[in-house]
């Protein structure tokens, strides 16, 4: 018996492929972006989801991804035009009040730290940038990290600490920490056999899920110095180990994965047009966890699914977007036990 996914809204308006969707922290609105160089803000009016605002003229090329500040006041957009724009509604309407420049070419991802005081970007130039948020809409580059050897696809902050994770075309995932005033890579997670497209922390921040062009999903766990399991840790930073590989479920590249902080469910978006939900077994051993596929939505979109995002408050609502130009909202109903 598996759970059920039903489509609850089909949001049309983008004029090209939609690359990314992001819920505001309170879940009241959803932002989407794509090849048409616009950002659309979707919200509920009565029972219906509608496009509230279209943000244009911020970028000259494709907008690849979005990130909300934890307070929900700011929205950052990463673009192939090599810049990151910061939008806010201080004037009552969304306006771009800061543009972060520095990357040599396409910016692929942007993400805010939990405190809202740091911002990370990454891109095709193989670098990861960390920006400090100053007063008066000023952003200062705190560090440029060249640890990856290829195109960096995504950056994601730890849910509670100032630890950053990134994944890359070089098939690895890397973790960064600030050490004596400078940021450096403290661990490299190897195992995927092709591009790692996306990563997501679980609610505790002790585990990461990753997805790849190698059609697998991997679960990684951190082992702090002095761990009871006896995992060897050199130095003072935790050692991350792959503890589970989910293979054989996806037919093509997996472009996104999101680990719900509310329900603990993992959702994937892939090039086979499907969305899938995985649930950890109740008695799962954390050092050797097992996950079950609890729902598959075939033909969720008519083309590749690019991004998937759990609602931050309502544990059964999901948003997806696709090359087919649409954004969709889904309700997940778990199977009865």
């Amino acid at each position: 018996m598996t759970g059920k996914l039903e489509s609850i809204a089909n949001l049309e308006g983008h004029e090209d492929r939609v690359w990314s969707v992001a819920w505001s922290p309170n879940g009241f609105v959803l932002a989407s972006c794509g090849g048409d160089k616009t950002i659309r803000i979707w919200g509920k009016e009565g029972d219906k989801w509608i496009c509230k605002t279209i943000l244009e003229d911020g970028h000259q090329r494709t907008i690849r991804s979005l990130g909300w500040s934890p307070c929900g006041t700011f929205l950052a957009s990463a673009s192939f035009d090599a810049t990151t724009c910061i939008w806010d509604q201080k004037s009552g309407e969304f306006e771009c009040n800061a543009t972060l420049e520095g990357h040599e070419n396409e910016v692929k991802s942007v993400n805010w730290s939990v405190s809202g005081s740091l911002l990370a970007t990454c891109g095709r130039d193989k670098s990861v940038w960390i920006w400090e948020v100053q007063e008066d809409d000023e952003y200062e580059c705190a560090s440029v990290i060249h640890s990856h050897t290829q195109d960096v696809k995504k950056v994601v902050w730890h849910p509670t600490k100032e630890i950053l994770a990134s994944c890359s075309y070089d098939d690895t995932i890397k973790l960064y920490k600030e050490d004596e005033d400078d940021w450096s890579c403290c661990d490299t997670l190897e195992g995927h056999e092709s591009t790692v497209w996306s990563i997501s922390f679980d609610g505790s921040g002790d585990r990461i899920v990753s997805c790849s062009d190698d059609k697998t999903v991997r679960i990684w766990k951190s082992y702090p110095p002095g761990n009871q399991e006896g995992v060897v840790v050199s130095g003072k930073h935790s050692k991350w180990k792959c503890v589970c590989v989910l293979s054989g479920y996806h037919d093509r590249t997996i472009y996104d994965v999101h680990w719900s902080k509310v329900s603990g469910l993992i959702a994937t978006a892939s090039g086979d047009d499907c969305i899938r939900i995985f649930k950890e077994d109740t008695n799962s051993d954390r050092n050797q966890p097992s996950f079950q596929l609890v729902a598959t939505q075939r033909k969720a979109h008519s083309m590749d699914v690019n991004s998937i995002c759990w609602h931050p408050k309502d544990e059964n609502i999901l948003a997806t977007c696709s090359d087919d130009g649409t954004v969709k909202l889904w309700r997940f109903t778990p199977a009865e036990e």
Binding site: R64, D151, M303
Partner: protein, 159 residues
Amino acid sequence: MAAVTDRLENVNPTVFQRLKERVVLAEEEDDNIVDKIDDREIFDMIRSINDPEHPLTLEELNVVEQALIDVSDDESYVKVQFTPTIPHCSMATLIGLAIRVRLLRSLPDRFKVDVKITPGTHQSEIAVNKQLADKERVAAALENNHLLDVIDQCLVSKK
């Protein structure tokens, strides 16, 4: 993506005989019969693509062959293997990109397309295949007007 150089890498490529034009069969004219997309149809989409450096088509250089096309209309899937004229051809990525763009423009959206180098025929086969399969990098490349011009030149049918 590789830049176009002035110097020919492969000065004397072997030129292959072109296939005859496809004969249109009576049942293909019949609108009541659903025509599934087959390997010959895919081949016809890509055979006349121009080589980036020779005044010859990919068919004449044997870079594309009907036998190296896999297609399943029912599964909306197409796989094209192409064979660079020489194992160190720096144009391999560009040729693959031209094939990909032609198929993107010609096929219905439902199709999944894989464009790969014929195994064992290029020294950077894995790297080129990985780049051609990365739709994000392909999308970024196609926003580069200079590159798009070069690809469009390859896609102009001379006839």
